[in-house]
Symmetry: C2
Subunit: 253 residues, 2 copies
Amino acid sequence: MLTIGQLAAYAGVTVRTVRHYHQIGLLPEPERDASGYRTYTATAVVALIKIRTIANAGVPLARVRAMLDADPATFAEAIQRIDDHLRDEIERLETSRKQIGRLAAGDSLVLPPEVVAYLDRLRAIGASERMVAGERDGWILVGARWPDYPRDWIPYKIAQLEDPRVVRLYRLLSDALDGDPGDESRLPEVADLMVELAEESGEEETGGQAEDDLPFDLMDAFAIESDPRAVRLMELMRERGWARWTKLERVRE
Amino acid sequence: MLTIGQLAAYAGVTVRTVRHYHQIGLLPEPERDASGYRTYTATAVVALIKIRTIANAGVPLARVRAMLDADPATFAEAIQRIDDHLRDEIERLETSRKQIGRLAAGDSLVLPPEVVAYLDRLRAIGASERMVAGERDGWILVGARWPDYPRDWIPYKIAQLEDPRVVRLYRLLSDALDGDPGDESRLPEVADLMVELAEESGEEETGGQAEDDLPFDLMDAFAIESDPRAVRLMELMRERGWARWTKLERVRE
DNA sequence: GCTTGACCCTGACGCAGCGTCAGGCCCCGA
DNA sequence: TCGGGGCCTGACGCTGCGTCAGGGTCAAGC
């Protein structure tokens, strides 16, 4: 006969664990000796090890109990599900390891170096800090969901800055943003310039899959939520025959 | 600007989670708008994703917070420890998968077939149910800790049963066990027979490593705890020059 | 016989990491 | 103006034990 401490030691658990399993009816209460001590037989060791084997696989104790008094077919099925779950869990931890690794390898999670370079360029051409902060937040948002996007698109954005008209556009936007939030007087000029640039670049980019548009949708939404004047500006663009914001499209009509 | 719901969606967590992180000071409380709504910037998304990246690796939130305001060197060190922990955890789950598999592949965890065969043989030679139950519990105990032991030793035990004196020994023990627990009158006869068998088999087995003796120690202890007469029997054996129980040894003097 | 230390007993509160009401305000589209 | 969805602040619930608190028991040594 075994005491609770010996039982626990053989099964590799604590005494408290055994008592807990009694309390929730997972392990039947054994006989007591004269002084009230629980006295176990070896079958309890087996039962306990079986319970721990299942519980170690991440199965909640309530389901372990359900498994113990299930018929063999149901039991086997449950085992299969547990194994599947274990496989998924291992996979999850492995991707977690990769992400942790990326965290260690410089703060690429925070801001990709390409974006930093782009923001520096924006400052260099005279964009306001507000403007830069807005751009930064937008790219952070996009990068959080589609980590590869900034790397693919930033070079294109930087190249655009070679065009003096693009530079002028950013300065106009900066001035507009720094002014009174209710002052929409400078927006038509901005819209005209954007249309001019859009007409010129044409529709080379149309034909991209809808999936690729998600990040741009997000940035559009972000711009609109950041400042009420973005809404007015989009209206002005639509009047001129263009829709969307960060990726312009001719309105089809 | 983002609402709490949008923030949560971008980071892939629930609103409740974000609020919880505010409550425990893991994520700073943002500004509120006129109606008391929290208003987030994209940096919050980044912070939240960073938190989740670390927490997903199984790091408790308290330690996540400690990491967030640690210097880069300490941070890198912590990341290393997390990675180690992840590796261990993956390994643990993989062994768990193997054990679950053994559970599915027949109840080898409960009683190895060799032991079942051995118990049947014991019944066949006339051992009492009490005796068989005691043997069963002993082998269960051993098998729980050293799964390969029964497979290696049971054939030897079965072979021993070919000797009529061994059969007589088991019958004597059965009778003794089924009698009054205080009745030790039949023990000397048992001891004499055990000594006879021990003298004959000699000390072929001496030289085994100490590690190999653990299971036998366990079975000795189990026998003693099962019945007070086992203690008396061991005394009688020692008087006759032999120590231990399930694996006899000449007393060195 | 008495102490000491290692066990055993029950009962109860504590902890992480949120889920999930409850009760109430706010915003937007029809 | 009404309904549905989203926001707010509490506050209790859940799992799987750890960890006292406040007691009895057992074996060993003096």
